[in-house]
């Protein structure tokens, strides 16, 4: 393949389009109106998560706890705003009668229920991110360990709080956040596109953005340049937690439930889409556009696999292989780019 194509920022987009066209030939309804709408509705929540993950990857970390943040915030938000709890499912819950009852959650029926629930979800996401960030930056613990423990703890907590039951009967106005539309534009699109635009401005056109990249490329140099490295690292995890909470809002609204196992199988998708989008696991590299392309590719792939006569596990195996290929390709691109640089350097 010609160098310019492989090295291009838009390589993944080209691949996605080619793949989509190929699938279209085989499955003509791929390009049907309903499927396209479905496809894009899968893009937005995943993109929110990948953008959050990107901040952490850029500063040279990894956030495995995103999915557990989704689960815990999904449950907490629902516990506040659900209009009714099914006694058959929740009677034996230790919080029965304390936090929720047959009449619904804490603020059930109140006009403040949905804003309060959304706020709590975001605050909890940010807080868990803050804890992750502090453990990584101040205690200098390895990010992998910190967020793995957080993942285990908070996903366990979400299941404990609900005894593994989904919380149904969420208010209509909340569900509209994931499924509704403002005029012809889905509200999920609006939320995530503005999130992406904000991330783009931060990374490309702000001092903070330069600091993220500097910390990821060489934290010692960053420190010697007077960059507040600890604050930058903490902030990356906070943003990741925030984005995970946004993802949680969108997924919970689409599923119309507070779900303690929400996002359980999503971690691979998030990391996979990030890697496909050229966000380096070694830190210091990553662009919002790459995240968008990575998510698009992943969603198209997932969509096409679902059309094939395959079972759940085979789909996972294929997805794993594709992510592996993306990682290999990324290493290859890095090597081609590095070679070019080295060669110029010798002149």
């Amino acid at each position: 393949m010609p160098r310019e194509v492989v090295l291009s920022d838009h390589f993944v987009l080209v691949l996605t389009v080619l793949y989509f066209l190929l699938s279209w030939v085989i499955y003509p309804h791929m390009a049907g109106r309903r499927n396209i709408a479905n496809l894009f509705s899968n893009v937005w929540p995943l993109l929110a998560l990948v953008i959050g993950q990107m901040f952490v990857l850029i500063v040279g970390g990894i956030d495995l706890s995103q999915t557990s943040i989704m689960a815990v915030t999904s449950v907490l938000g629902a516990a506040i705003m659900a209009t009714r709890f099914d006694p058959a499912k929740f009677e034996h819950n230790p919080f029965w009668g304390v936090v929720f009852s047959e009449q619904g959650g804490l603020l059930a029926g109140s006009g403040w229920a949905v804003p309060a629930a959304v706020l709590v979800m975001l605050v909890v996401g940010v807080t868990i991110g803050l804890l992750n960030g502090l453990a990584v930056a101040k205690l200098r613990m390895p990010p992998f360990m910190v967020t793995l423990v957080a993942m285990s703890f908070f996903s366990g907590l979400a299941i404990y709080l609900t005894r593994s039951e989904n919380i149904m009967y969420l208010p209509e106005s909340f569900i509209a956040m994931g499924k509704g539309a403002i005029g012809p534009v889905p509200s999920a699109l609006l939320m995530v596109v503005s999130l992406a635009a904000l991330a783009f401005v931060v990374l490309n056109a702000s001092v903070l953005g330069r600091w993220f990249y500097a910390v990821g490329q060489n934290i010692r140099t960053a420190r010697a340049c007077g960059i507040p490295t600890q604050r930058v690292v903490v902030l990356a995890y906070v943003l990741s937690g925030f984005c995970a909470a946004v993802g949680s809002i969108l997924y919970s609204a689409r599923l119309e439930a507070g779900r303690p196992t929400l996002g359980r199988d999503l971690l691979l998708d998030v990391i996979g889409a990030a890697v496909i989008g050229g966000i380096s696991l070694f830190g210091g590299k990553g662009k919002v556009l790459g995240a968008v392309y990575g998510v698009l590719f992943f969603v198209v792939l997932d969509n096409s696999l679902n059309k094939m006569p395959l079972d759940f596990y085979s789909i996972d195996i294929i997805k794993g292989c594709v992510i592996l290929m993306a990682a290999v390709l990324d290493a290859l691109r890095t090597r081609i780019a590095a070679n070019q640089v080295v060669l110029v350097g010798m002149s």
Binding site: V207, R210, A224, G226, I227
Partner: protein, 536 residues
């Protein structure tokens, strides 16, 4: 001639039937371009078997390109190489190794976590028969013999990370010996060595020479090159400028050949002297085990040198002053404002700047552009919209270009060129340049000229002078005494975390300075004769 241990006989088979040839290595009309830029043009050099070639040139002159061609890393566009009389076209570094070439690099290629023996045999362990099991005992024994060839009396099971830099260098040489290398390339081998280790290295090189091995010695330390070489070759801008027997060369001639002009005065003069106003004041700075009761004043327009051996606490002191590390006791003030244990961020705002010792590890972001590096410290001043701190795409480009021009950084467009692809001297200029954008009151430089070529050194001296003339106070930490004597108004000598002595310009005696640096190291504390009291 030295006796080769019996167990190495087989490994050193070429040694038994040397089939001596006249020319060990002949480059014939080698040319190489990268993207239209000539890196080498028509270079022809020949080295007699058993001779030592001293290859010199500024960074970017083409030495590394030539050695990369020899090592099979890249192929030449034109020209041929003959190795020991045979046509030689290596396609990979492995082929170069097989052909009997060993490279000993400045940056060592050893695995710090593995033992010496593991490192020596990493590409071919002795095995138990034909099984894949390593014959540890035999490996240790052979390792011991190889180590004895380089006078290293250390148990081969020792992890490399436990060794001093000089000892690691020796292990690297032992590795080359173990591979029967007939041609050994030394690329800046002595940079990180102490004086004693240096002497040892030269003894070994001499011995290798006596054994009849051919050596190419590349270094910026021209005295060393004169000391070890039979033949000297000088590269400049990809061309062979001159070559001839060592006797025809002096350090002065080497410099003028390398630079293409004469540097009559290595240390340019400064038009102003030290001022009266105190820019930086340090009182009783103490951090247990690191520095003890360090006090001095640094005035505006003054260049204050700090001399000391590695481990004397000089770099650690600088890190504490700058705010990267803490101190337990003492006071630091910048222009009268207290800055004790202030953060680096706050100190930078107060006008402090720090060119760190190791530009790769702590000075640069290698894989981003020159512009991003230059702007790293001063980003905030180019930001708009208050707390949002938005940067326009052109933000700082003009100022950065001005600094790049002033420092004469040789680079492509600074918003495109990556720092990794610059030469060492230009990289160092980028590190200095990022601080110029902040207009510092006090500039601390830690070993700013290490590993860069003569021309770039000269330019950096000029930059330091210019800054001092404009009113900055300079704290200059350096291991090269000559450089400090040439450049500084005063020199502080540190040893064991303390300031042992102070010398003023006109009062510099190299021996006394060295003595002060070595005092307090042997346990018996030297009399604090030159104990500093810099208050005027």
């Amino acid at each position: 001639m030295r006796c080769v241990p019996a167990s190495l006989r087989i490994r050193l088979s070429w040694w038994e039937c040397p089939e001596m040839v006249e020319w060990a290595l002949e480059f014939d009309g080698i040319s190489k371009s990268f993207f239209g830029v000539r890196a080498l043009s028509n270079v022809s050099i020949a080295v007699r078997e058993g001779h030592t070639l001293g290859l010199i040139g500024e960074n970017g002159a083409g030495k590394s390109t030539l050695m990369n061609i020899l090592g099979g890393v890249i192929a030449p566009d034109e020209g041929r190489i003959r190795l020991f009389g045979r046509e030689y076209q290596p396609a990979s570094p492995a082929e170069a190794t097989d052909a009997g070439i060993a490279f000993i690099h400045q940056e060592l290629n050893l695995f710090a976590n593995l033992s010496i023996a593991d490192n020596l045999f990493i590409d071919g362990f002795p095995r138990l028969g034909k099984s894949p099991i390593i014959d540890r005992r035999s490996a240790r024994r052979q390792a011991k013999e190889l180590l004895s060839l380089v006078d290293l009396d250390i148990w081969p099971g020792t992890a490399v990370e436990m060794l001093a830099p000089g000892e690691r260098q020796l292990v690297e040489i032992a590795k080359a010996l173990g591979r029967d290398s007939r041609l050994i390339i030394f690329d800046e081998p002595a940079t990180s060595l102490t004086a004693a280790e240096r002497t040892r290295l030269f003894d070994i090189i001499k011995r290798l020479h006596e054994q009849g091995r051919t050596i190419v010695y590349i270094s910026h330390t021209l005295d060393d090159v004169l000391r070890v070489s039979n033949t000297v070759a000088v590269l400049r801008d990809g061309c062979l400028v001159s070559t001839g027997p060592c006797g025809q060369y002096s350090v002065d001639r080497m410099i003028s050949d390398m630079v293409g002009r004469r540097i009559d005065q290595m240390y340019p003069a400064r038009s102003t002297g030290p001022g009266v106003a105190v820019a930086l004041k340090v009182e009783g700075l103490t951090q247990p085990g690191i520095v003890k009761d360090v006090s001095f004043e640094l005035h505006e327009k003054e260049v204050l040198g700090v001399f000391g051996l590695v481990g004397s606490g000089r770099s650690e002191m600088a890190r504490i002053i700058f705010g990267l590390d803490r101190c337990k006791d003492g006071r630091i003030s910048i222009r009268g404002q207290d800055a004790t244990n202030a953060s680096a961020e706050a100190n930078i705002r107060n006008g402090l700047a720090f060119v760190t010792e190791n530009r790769h590890a702590e000075g640069l972001l290698m894989d981003t552009t020159v512009l991003n590096n230059l702007g790293l410290v001063s980003l905030r001043q180019f930001a708009r919209f208050g707390p949002a701190r938005i940067l326009w795409r052109s933000g700082g480009l003009e100022s950065a270009n001005r600094v790049a021009g002033m420092l004469r950084i040789k680079s492509g467009p600074i918003h495109k060129q990556h720092v990794r692809s610059l030469s060492g001297g230009n990289q160092q200029k980028v590190v200095i340049g990022k601080w110029l954008l902040t207009d510092p009151v006090v500039l601390i430089l830690d070993e700013p000229t290490r590993g860069i070529d003569v021309g770039a050194k000269y330019e950096i001296y000029g930059i330091i002078n210019t800054l001092a003339e404009r009113g900055a106070a300079i704290l200059y930490i350096c291991s090269e005494l000559e450089e400090l004597v040439g450049l500084c108004d005063r020199i502080l000598v540190m040893s064991n975390g303390q300031i042992e002595a102070e010398f003023r310009r006109g009062d510099y005696q190299q021996e006394a300075i060295l003595q002060a640096a070595f005092s307090g190291r042997g346990g018996s504390k030297a009399a604090p004769a030159g104990r500093i009291d810099s208050s005027r």
